[in-house]
C-alpha cells in the first residue's frame, strides 16, 4: 500500500460510506501505472496458478463421469495436512533451502500417493455401487464424504493438539527462507512465493495437458468424456478409466493442498476445504464443465479478477469482501450469459 492514495478513514469497522469521487479517480490513476499493473498481473498469475491446481482435478472427474465432486475441497485440505506432516516431520531449523525444496517434492509425491489411495478406496467402496443411479446420488454421496473427512481431520488434529480452525503454523514455517523474500522485477516488486506458485501451476498445467493430448491414456479419457458407450465398444474398459481419472483428479487436488500449505493466505486448516471448494466450482463452471482448456482460461480470468479487486480493496474501496463478491459474480454472470461456460459445448438437440 502506498501513501499517495487517500485511504478513507473508517469509523470502527462500522460504516461503508460513499467516498469522494476524487479518491476513486486518484486510485484509478495509481492503478493504471505500469508498475502497479505489472504487480497486479503477477499476483493475478499466482492466484490463477492456485485456482487451476484446485480446479483441474474437479474438471477431469466431471468431464468423464458427470459427477460434481463435493469432496474435492476436503481432499485438497487433507493434502495440505499430509504435505505439512511430511515437512514438519522432516524439516528442522537447520535444514537448508535446497534440502527444503527437495523435501517439499517428497511431500508432494507422498500427498499424491496418499490421496490416490484414499480416493481409490472411496471410489471402489462408495461411488461404484451408485454408477447406475442418477448423478444426483453420486453428488450427495460426495457431500457425505466431505462431512466425514472434515470431521476426521478435526479429530486427528485436535488429538495432536493442533487448532483445526486456524492455519498450521508449524507447517507454514517449513517454507524455505527464499520463498519469504520479495524481488524487484522491473518497476515492481514480486514475492518469491508468487513466482514459485506460478512455476508450480505452469508445470502442473503442462503435465496434465501433455498427459491428455500426448498419451494414449489421455486420448482414451478425452474419448470417454465425449461418448463412453462408443469408447467401451472400442475395447476400452471405461470403468477402469473412471477409477484412474478419479484417483488422478484427487491426486492433483492433494498436490494443490500441499502447495497451499505454504501460502500464508491459505495454509493448512479444516476450513480450507470450503474455502477451496467454492472457487474450484466457480472456475470449473465458468470454464465449461469438463473442458480442461476452459478450466485453465477460467482460472486465469478468476485469478486476474481476484488480483485486481484485491488491489482496489487494499487501496481504495473499504470492503474486504470485494474480491470474493466478484468471483461469485463471475459465476452468476457466466451462467446467465453463457450457461455452458466459456469452452463448454451446448447441449445439442436436447430440450
Amino acid at each position: 500500500m502506498t501513501g499517495t492514495v487517500p485511504v478513507v478513514e473508517l469509523a470502527g469497522a462500522g460504516v461503508v460510506g460513499p467516498f469522494p469521487l476524487v479518491s476513486y479517480l486518484d486510485a484509478l490513476a495509481q492503478f493504471l501505472r505500469p508498475s502497479t499493473l505489472a504487480g497486479v498481473f503477477v499476483r493475478g498469475l499466482s492466484k490463477a496458478a492456485l485456482y487451476v491446481m484446485i480446479a483441474s482435478g474437479l474438471t477431469l472427474v466431471f468431464g468423464l463421469m458427470g459427477v460434481l465432486n463435493f469432496a474435492h475441497g476436503s481432499l485438497t485440505m487433507v493434502g495440505a495436512y499430509l504435505g505439512g506432516l511430511v515437512m514438519v516431520l522432516s524439516v528442522t531449523a537447520a535444514t537448508g533451502t535446497a534440502l527444503r525444496f527437495g523435501l517439499f517434492f517428497v511431500a508432494v509425491l507422498v500427498t499424491f500417493g496418499g490421496l490416490v489411495a484414499l480416493e481409490s478406496a472411496v471410489e471402489v467402496s462408495l461411488i461404484r455401487p451408485l454408477y447406475d443411479r442418477p448423478p444426483i446420488y453420486q453428488i450427495l454421496l460426495t457431500f457425505g464424504v466431505t462431512l466425514v473427512l472434515d470431521e476426521l481431520v478435526r479429530i486427528v488434529t485436535q488429538f495432536y493438539g493442533l487448532q483445526p480452525i486456524s492455519e498450521w503454523q508449524e507447517a507454514l514455517s517449513t517454507k524455505p527462507e527464499l520463498l519469504t523474500e520479495t524481488f524487484r522485477l522491473g518497476s515492481t516488486t514480486v514475492s518469491a512465493l508468487s513466482l514459485f506458485e506460478i512455476l508450480f501451476g505452469v508445470v502442473t498445467v503442462a503435465a496434465v495437458w501433455t498427459f491428455l493430448t500426448r498419451t494414449r491414456y489421455g486420448l482414451v479419457i478425452r474419448a470417454g468424456s465425449e461418448d463412453s458407450e462408443m469408447t467401451e465398444a472400442l475395447g476400452i474398459d471405461v470403468r477402469r478409466v473412471f477409477a484412474t481419472v478419479f484417483a488422478l483428479g484427487t491426486g492433483i487436488a492433494g498436490v494443490a493442498g500441499a502447495l497451499l500449505m505454504w501460502d500464508p493466505v491459505w495454509g493448512a486448516s479444516v476450513p480450507l476445504a470450503a474455502d477451496t471448494l467454492l472457487p474450484a466450482f466457480v472456475v470449473v463452471i465458468v470454464g465449461g464443465l469438463g473442458t480442461f482448456r476452459g478450466t485453465v482460461v477460467a482460472a486465469l480470468l478468476v485469478g486476474m479478477v481476484d488480483a485486481v479487486t484485491t488491489w482496489w480493496f487494499v487501496n481504495a474501496v473499504e470492503f474486504s469482501g470485494l474480491p470474493e463478491i466478484f468471483i461469485f459474480l463471475i459465476l452468476v454472470v457466466t451462467l446467465v450469459v453463457r450457461p455452458q461456460g466459456l469452452f463448454g459445448v451446448a447441449e445439442v438437440g436436447g430440450h
Binding site: L10, G12, A13, G14, V15, V16, L68, L126, P129, L130, R133, I136, Y137, I139, L140, L141, F143, G144, V145, T146, L147, V148, D150, E151, L152, R154, I155, Q158, F159, A274, L278, F281, V282, I285, L289, F319, S320, G321, E324, I325, F328, L329, L331, V332, L335, V336, P339, H351
Partner: protein, 445 residues
C-alpha cells in the same frame, strides 16, 4: 411440529383415499361424517403433534425419574427441540422447491438468512422506515416478503437453467449475499460475527412475542433468557418451554399452509414438473411461472424459519444464516427424512440434532460422553489399548464430533435408503402414514 404426513395422496401417489372421499356412500350421514372423516385422515398428524406437545413434560418427568441419567444422555433437551422445529421448517421449505420440483436450490440459505437478518436489523432500528417496536409477527412477515422479492429476482434468472447449473447459479447468488453480509459494517459492529439484538441506540432491546400482534394478552415472549414463563395450574413452563410451544405453533401453521399448497392443483403441477417437465409443458403448463411462484413460496417460508431462529437466539451470523453449508444442513435433513415428502425434513432434522447432541461435548444437553464419564469405573477408563486409553478414545471420538457420525449416517442413507425415513416407511406401508392409519380405522367399522 406437525406432521406425520401429508393427507390423502401426497406425492400424487395413490388415490384410494380420493375414491373414498368422493364416494357418496362414505358421506351417507353428512352431519357426522365430515369431521369424523377429517379426524380419521389426520389421526397420524394429531398423534405426532400430541407427542411433540407432550415432549417437554415427558422430558421433564423422565429427568426427575430413576432413569434420569439415561434420559439425559439419549433425549435432546427442549432447547434443541426448538431448534429442530425452526430449522425443520427451513428444511421443509428447501424440500418444497428441491424435492417437489426437482430443482436443487443450493443457495436456499439466502432466504433463511434474509428472514433472520430482517428481524434483528429491524429490532436494532437499522431497517429504514421500520420502527424497532414493530411486533415480531409482523417482522416475520416482513422477512418473508423480502425473501419473496429476492426469490423472484433470483428465480427469473436461474430458472432458465436446469440440473447442476441451476444448483450452481443459486449457490452463486447466495454466496454473493453471504460475502456482502459478512463484510458490510452497517449490519453489525462486527459483521463477521453477525448482529445481536441490542435495540437502537438509547432504547431498550425489544422482546419478541409470538401470538396476535398488538394484543399483549394473546402473545407470549420467546427466547431462552428473554421469554415468558407461564404457570398453568400444576404446570409451570419455563422460558425454554414457552419458546418451544410458541415457535412450534408458528411452524405448525406454516406446515399446514405448505401442505395445503402441495395438495392443491398448483402443488400437483409442481410434482408433474419434477416427474417430467417436458411433458408438463406439452400438456399446457407454462412451467417457468409455476417454478418461479413455487420458489417464491419456498423462499417465504425459509425466511419465516430464519426469523424464528433469530427471534429465539436473538442473534445470527453470516456463517449460521447465509453460508452454503446451512443449505447443506437442510439438504442433509431432507435426504435423511425423505426427499420430496413435506414432513420428512423435520424428522430428518430431529434425527440429525439428536445424534449431534448425543455425541456432543459435556454440557447442558447431556449426551454419551458425560454419561460414560459418569458410569464407567475408573478401572475401565484407564485401560490402555495400543497407547490410547479408553478415556482418551472416548474423549477423542465422542467430544462434539457428531458431524462424523452424521456424515456416515447420511452416506448410509444415500447408499441404502435413498427414499429417506419417511419414503421408506411409506414404501413399507404401501401409502402415506395418514392414509394407512385412516384406512385401518375405517376397516374397523
Amino acid at each position: 411440529m406437525a406432521i406425520s404426513d401429508p393427507n390423502p395422496a401426497d406425492e400424487a401417489a395413490a388415490t384410494p383415499e380420493d375414491a373414498v372421499e368422493s364416494d357418496p356412500t362414505a358421506v351417507a350421514t353428512p352431519d357426522t361424517a365430515w369431521w369424523r372423516r377429517y379426524l380419521e385422515e389426520h389421526v397420524a398428524h394429531v398423534a405426532v403433534i400430541a407427542l411433540l406437545a407432550a415432549y417437554p413434560l415427558l422430558h421433564g418427568a423422565l429427568l426427575a425419574s430413576p432413569v434420569a441419567s439415561e434420559a439425559r444422555m439419549l433425549l435432546p433437551n427442549v432447547e434443541t427441540m426448538t431448534a429442530v422445529l425452526y430449522f425443520g421448517l427451513f428444511a421443509m421449505s428447501f424440500d418444497f422447491i428441491s424435492g417437489y420440483t426437482g430443482y436443487l436450490s443450493f443457495g436456499h440459505a439466502v432466504f433463511y438468512g434474509t428472514g433472520a437478518y430482517v428481524v434483528i436489523l429491524a429490532a436494532n432500528g437499522k431497517l429504514p422506515l421500520v420502527p424497532h417496536t414493530t411486533p415480531f409477527m409482523l417482522l416475520l412477515l416482513l422477512g418473508g416478503v423480502f425473501a419473496v422479492l429476492l426469490a423472484l429476482g433470483i428465480g427469473v434468472v436461474s430458472f432458465r437453467l436446469t440440473g447442476v447449473y441451476f444448483a450452481m447459479i443459486t449457490l452463486g447468488f447466495s454466496q454473493v449475499a453471504y460475502v456482502l453480509v459478512r463484510d458490510w459494517g452497517y449490519l453489525a459492529s462486527s459483521p463477521r460475527d453477525g448482529p445481536f439484538v441490542v435495540g437502537p441506540e438509547g432504547a431498550m432491546a425489544p422482546v419478541f412475542s409470538v401470538g396476535v400482534p398488538f394484543v399483549d394478552s394473546l402473545a407470549l415472549d420467546i427466547g431462552v433468557l428473554t421469554g415468558d414463563s407461564v404457570v398453568l395450574g400444576p404446570l409451570s413452563l419455563g422460558t425454554t418451554e414457552v419458546s418451544f410451544y410458541m415457535v412450534g405453533i408458528v411452524v405448525l401453521v406454516c406446515y399446514l399452509l405448505l401442505q395445503r399448497v402441495i395438495h392443491s392443483p398448483f402443488g400437483r403441477v409442481l410434482i408433474a414438473i419434477r416427474e417430467n417437465e417436458e411433458r408438463a409443458r406439452a400438456v399446457g403448463y407454462d412451467t417457468f411461472r409455476y417454478k418461479l411462484i413455487a420458489f417464491a413460496i419456498s423462499g417465504f417460508f425459509a425466511a419465516i424459519a430464519g426469523g424464528l431462529f433469530a427471534g429465539f437466539r436473538r442473534s445470527a451470523s453470516p456463517d449460521n444464516a447465509f453460508f452454503f453449508l446451512v443449505t447443506g444442513d437442510a439438504l442433509l435433513a431432507s435426504i435423511i427424512g425423505g426427499f420430496g415428502t413435506l414432513a420428512g425434513p423435520l424428522y430428518g432434522r430431529l434425527l440429525d440434532e439428536t445424534i449431534r447432541e448425543f455425541l456432543s461435548k459435556e454440557g447442558t444437553g447431556g449426551g454419551l460422553l458425560p454419561y460414560l464419564r459418569e458410569v464407567l469405573p475408573e478401572s475401565i477408563l484407564t485401560v490402555d489399548i495400543a497407547g490410547l486409553t479408553v478415556q482418551g478414545a472416548i474423549e477423542t471420538f465422542l467430544n462434539g464430533h457428531g458431524s462424523l457420525y452424521l456424515g456416515l449416517l447420511f452416506i448410509g442413507f444415500v447408499l441404502f435408503v435413498p427414499g429417506g425415513v419417511l419414503g421408506y416407511v411409506r414404501e413399507r406401508l404401501g401409502g402415506t402414514v395418514a392414509q394407512r392409519v385412516a384406512s385401518r380405522i375405517r376397516g374397523g367399522d
